[in-house]
């Protein structure tokens, strides 16, 4: 646990690096004098405008954020609900994986964007969003869960086997606790990829609401201020979610000496 002083220091330096980045952007934008590189004041104006009047169709910024959040959570939750049990099952019974890997592994390498036409012809409405986000988040969660099972320390299993532990006990008390931190990492990576898929998902969703949609609307108009606001909002929300994840992990995995921060 780092000291209070150290924490304050890192907050200070983080704020400082944001300030430095802002200064560089301002200088760059002042030098360019082009509508493609709006100043911070112009970005701020776009931000306030999106909150008070809404976008060109009058949809407020918070409606956009809320719509995207719901979609992210739906796709991400589906990825967890399918990926974790499937990964566990295939890790515990490796034959399941060995005998199906020729179908699983190739799918993993198809980028979510390549699925767009398929999603358009196969699905409608909300399921399109959920499907594309699910595609992005599922594999990191599934694969890390699967691999984590194979990394369970056999010594820990033997410790309880000597006492006559049954398979169910070994799974509950040894396998699950030892794979949980890896699963959490997989979920964190999955959540990041879910956000990366949001623009692609909202490209085909049909509805005019969503942060990705917002960016696309203003891309057609080449209005960079609003586009940058949309980009920053995705980044900030992702950042906040990741921080929350890390705090929860540190709580749950008190037995671990460190929590990875990637």
């Amino acid at each position: 646990m780092e000291g209070r002083k150290e924490q304050l220091k890192s907050v200070f330096y983080n704020l400082l690096s944001i300030a430095v980045a802002a200064v560089f952007w301002s200088l760059f934008s002042a030098w360019q004098q082009s509508p493609f590189f709006p100043s911070i004041a112009q970005i701020w104006k776009a931000f306030i405008g999106l909150i008070t009047v809404g976008d060109i169709e009058g949809i407020g910024l918070f409606s956009h954020i809320w719509a995207s959040l719901i979609r992210i959570f739906a796709g991400f939750a589906a990825a967890c609900v399918l990926g974790i049990p499937l990964g566990l099952a295939m890790g515990l019974w490796p034959k399941l994986y060995k005998r199906t890997r020729a179908i699983i592994e190739p799918i993993r390498f198809i980028p979510p964007i390549a699925w767009i036409p398929m999603a358009i012809v196969m699905l409608v409405g909300f399921s399109r969003y959920a499907f594309l986000i699910w595609l992005g988040a599922f594999f990191p969660i599934f694969i890390t869960t699967l691999l984590s099972v194979t990394r369970v320390n056999p010594l820990h299993v033997n410790v309880v086997k000597v006492f006559g532990a049954k398979r169910s006990y070994i799974i509950r008390k040894i396998v699950i606790p030892s794979v949980l931190p890896d699963i959490a990492t997989g979920m964190r990576v999955g959540l990041g990829i879910a956000w990366m898929c949001i623009v692609a998902a909202e490209m085909i969703g049909g509805e005019m609401v969503g942060i990705g949609r917002l960016i696309l609307k203003y891309a057609e108009l080449i209005r960079m201020g609003e586009i940058i606001v949309g980009m920053l909002i995705i980044g900030v929300i992702g950042f906040i979610m990741n921080e929350i994840f890390i705090i929860i992990e540190a709580r749950i995995f008190r037995w671990r000496s460190e929590v990875s921060i990637d």
């Binding site: 010594l155 820990h156 033997n158 410790v159 309880v160 086997k161 000597v162 006492f163 006559g164 532990a165 006990y169 008390k173 040894i174 606790p177 030892s178 995995f253 008190r254 037995w255 671990r256 000496s257």
Partner: protein
């Protein structure tokens, strides 16, 4: 004295490699049997087979005439490698065997605290392994093995990772506990001084594939004096047998 508890008559190979060849001996009730052998000769393999977590290729280990089985017999094994479960507090780790064997949690906790005291770790009950030293972890492993009051206690080079000072203290401690609680112990080591200090009987194993080369009953009174001439003489003789001097 002749009431014997365990009969061993096994061979073990991993694939084409013979590790244990015709290992035949018995373990008597309440004796402190020490098995010495050079590194890599198959001692850990033997410990795992004795405890029932690994199977022999030929032959079997029986306890009171019945094939050894962790689900039936009350056996404990102190592993050579540090074996604390990272997500268990010391108390949870020490009581794990009791919980598996269906002891209610109140009784298990009471016994756990008692054994933690026995190995001198009072006050650390709620610590996780990452918060304690290597020597303390090894004592946790010993406490865990003791907690279930096993009929057979197997210790696989339990002090191998400890510094000389801690090792010496642990030897005295293990002797005190053994004399106090009278258990049947199979103690594995590659340290001959330790063997002569602790054993009521010593078996000497050869290099790979391991066979039993010699057997020494040790009758020196306890506590033993490491510098006693008779002690030193026996130690030298076993060392020659072990071919470690070469």
């Amino acid at each position: 004295m002749d009431s014997h508890l365990v009969d061993v008559n096994i061979s073990k190979s991993f694939g084409k490699m013979d590790v244990l060849r015709d290992i035949k001996f018995d373990v008597k009730l309440n004796e402190f049997l020490v098995i010495v052998g050079p590194t890599g000769c198959g001692k850990t393999t033997l410990a795992n087979i004795l405890s029932g977590i690994e199977t022999s290729t030929v032959g079997s280990v029986t306890m009171r005439g019945e094939k050894i089985n962790p689900h039936k017999h009350n056996i404990s094994l102190v592993f050579q490698e540090p074996s604390c479960i990272p997500w268990y507090t010391m108390l949870q780790d020490v009581t794990s065997g009791l919980c598996i064997k269906g002891v209610d949690s109140k009784t298990a906790d009471a016994r756990g605290r008692e054994v933690i005291k026995l190995v001198g770790l009072e006050g650390y009950e709620d610590f996780f392994p990452r918060q304690i030293s290597g020597g303390m972890k090894q004592r946790v492993a010993i406490a865990r093995a003791y907690a279930t009051n096993p009929d057979l206690l197997i210790m696989d080079e339990p002090f191998g990772h400890l510094d000389a000072q801690t090792r010496y203290l642990m030897q005295i401690e293990i002797m005190r506990i053994w004399e106090q609680e009278k258990k049947t112990v199979v103690f594995i080591t590659n340290n001959i001084e330790e063997a002569v200090y602790l054993a009521s009987r010593i078996l000497v194993l050869t290099k790979l594939p391991a066979t039993i080369k010699a057997e020494y009953p040790i009758t020196f009174p306890r506590p033993r004096e490491l510098t006693d001439p008779a002690f030193l003489e026996l130690r030298a003789e076993i060392t020659t047998q072990c071919e470690i001097v070469e």
